[in-house]
Assembly symmetry: C2
Homo-oligomer: 359 residues x 2
């Protein structure tokens, strides 16, 4: 057979000599069907290669057993691993995953959400971009679709749960470590830009700030709390690219030679920063300490081994999935916020600064 013509339940019913409804009941394993007919129907269905049409079923039941996952970048290890653990978790509960990568474009995110909604996913996990507009998400949540925000809260959207690492605390771990070692001039490579207002962002889940802004806030706050003055020129902006991070790091080191430590606040930026330090002529950690972000498989392969702040990636994926399933099962349930703790893995790229710099 080359035909895409599929076997329907009517074909099964006819071949088994029963009505369509009986066939349906038998296939569903309903109790009110005689064992005889149930076997007969099952056998005939197998012979014919019957495969139930989930679309038709969904039309009636109103659920598709499918959840959507919308992330900015699937080739980013963080999102890839979150997707992996999310997919595993929901599958155990009978759900599949429709995935969409928005590649940093807000318009793609909007369309992805619309498309998945049109496909009637039962719920949606979205790591929203920093676009201006969150209408598509708000509408979705208000229509009653289960929604979990991942990694970044969307300002106008209540009624959605939020799962993320505690990014303010994550930065504090890194900065406290450096300050304890004696560092006073600590640079940061960030996707966010310096903004004194970040000093006041204390609630790590409140604002709709991007993770990078949260991490910058944590840096500023930890410095300030320790009595170390923050300097705008020590906050180096970099776009979401390893190559750009490389340049940013080189520039930071060149223009601010007093810096004895660098904290890099993102997965993809860490690789560029590490390479830049290697090429800078400075010895790490003797001349310069470096802290990366996220767990890289290369953290223990490079020399010096990389000290890094690691997010509980898998736990985040599981938490997002579980909360979504919960919201699907109990629509009335109020949204929850789950901030998971990051931890600092101290390896060899951080040490006491060579010369104690004093202001």
């Amino acid at each position: 057979m080359t035909s895409r013509q599929t076997v329907t339940i009517v074909d099964v019913a006819r071949a088994a000599g029963v009505s369509k409804s009986t066939a349906g009941r038998a296939l569903a394993g309903a109790a009110e069907v005689s064992a005889r007919t149930r076997d007969k129907v099952a056998r005939v269905a197998a012979e014919l290669g019957y495969r139930p049409n989930q679309l038709a079923r969904s039309m009636i039941t109103g659920n598709t057993q499918t959840v959507g996952v919308v992330v900015p970048d699937l080739s980013n290890r963080f999102f890839a691993e979150v997707l992996q653990s999310t997919a595993r978790t929901v599958r155990k509960h009978g759900y599949e995953v429709l995935v969409s990568s928005t590649e940093g474009e807000p318009e793609l995110e909007r369309r992805a959400v619309e498309t998945l909604a049109a496909k009637r996913v039962d719920g949606l996990i979205v790591a929203p971009l920093d676009g201006t507009d969150d209408d598509h998400l708000r509408r979705l949540a208000e229509d009653g679709t289960a929604l979990v925000l991942l990694d970044r809260r969307a300002p106008g959207v209540d009624r959605a749960s939020f799962v993320s690492a505690n990014n303010i605390e994550a930065s504090r771990l890194a900065i406290d470590h450096l300050i304890r070692l004696g560092h006073r001039h600590i640079g940061i490579i960030s996707e966010a830009r310096y903004d004194p207002a970040l000093l006041d962002v204390t609630e790590p889940s409140a604002a709709g700030l991007r993770p990078s802004a949260m991490r910058l806030a944590g840096y500023l706050q930890a410095m300030t709390a320790a009595g170390v003055p923050t300097r705008p020129d020590h906050v180096m902006h970099s776009a979401y690219s390893s190559a750009i991070s490389y340049d940013a790091t080189r520039t930071l080191l060149r223009t601010n030679p007093e810096i004895t430590a660098i904290y890099c606040t993102d997965n993809v930026l860490s690789a560029g920063a590490f390479a830049a330090v290697q090429d800078s002529g400075l010895r790490c950690p003797q001349d310069l300490s470096l802290i990366g972000f996220d767990d890289h498989e290369w953290a223990t392969l490079v020399r010096p081994r990389l000290t890094a702040v690691e997010q509980p990636t898998e736990a985040i994926g599981v938490a997002a999935a579980e909360d979504l399933l919960d919201a699907i099962a109990t629509p009335a349930r109020p949204p929850v916020t789950r901030l998971l703790a990051a931890h600092l893995v101290v390896r060899d790229s951080t040490a006491v600064p060579r010369r104690q710099d004093v202001d």
Copy 2:
């Protein structure tokens, strides 16, 4: 509104004062609708927050604008990147991706394929596991569902296209490089086991061999072609795990001290092998050359920089997607095979062996 109660086309039609079909035509942008009613319907639809039900549409049109992607491991960088480029490619043509990770379990693969088929995906890209049974895939293809096999051919399944790197050629690149440098005792870390029959597998797309077996075949053939004897004890088996690869590499080096070069044939095995070489006490590349597989972001971060065989990951994802879309558009079209060339990136982990070993 907290209700999941959705606005249907009937609601829109009624509010616009037209019939259901006119509303449908207007929404679809059909030409035979007057500009006036089209505007009216569009306005009313927007006001009501109407969102077309793609399920209902699919019931009629017979296509879901969705393709399935089934891979063994989403946290493997190779599959993550293939998924990324596949998703991007199909999205440009109006398709979304249902993804499933089989985590190395054949039973999960079978279920995933069944589930996606029940959801009536228009086509499927599958990187099949090495389970014994390919019935689920054969049935799918014979039912006329577009099917592209990724990375590994499934023996019993013709009527499916095949997209992969040329793994035999990939190994030849690595081994020729080493032999040209003067190596005669070259070990290999492989997920496959030594098998002399692999010497005869010349057609890189014919057999249903796993990529690892193909790469081992390429190793054996390149050695033999160069007149270098192959030795079963130089073929070191490792399971799919970086830690196990570490142990395998250590063992290989201990038991076969004559080895001057190691070729590692897999993504996740490469990290373990590199760490093992670091810890072995041997200097790389002076005492031991190492070739890894796939492009790692750490290849240029470690010292020595890693020489590696790189697959055209993105091109593979695009090719798989394009072929699938082609097969969907032209069901009668015969399956095609696309073997993309890998290339060797020579960095610093390979060099002339210290002592020329002679047999």
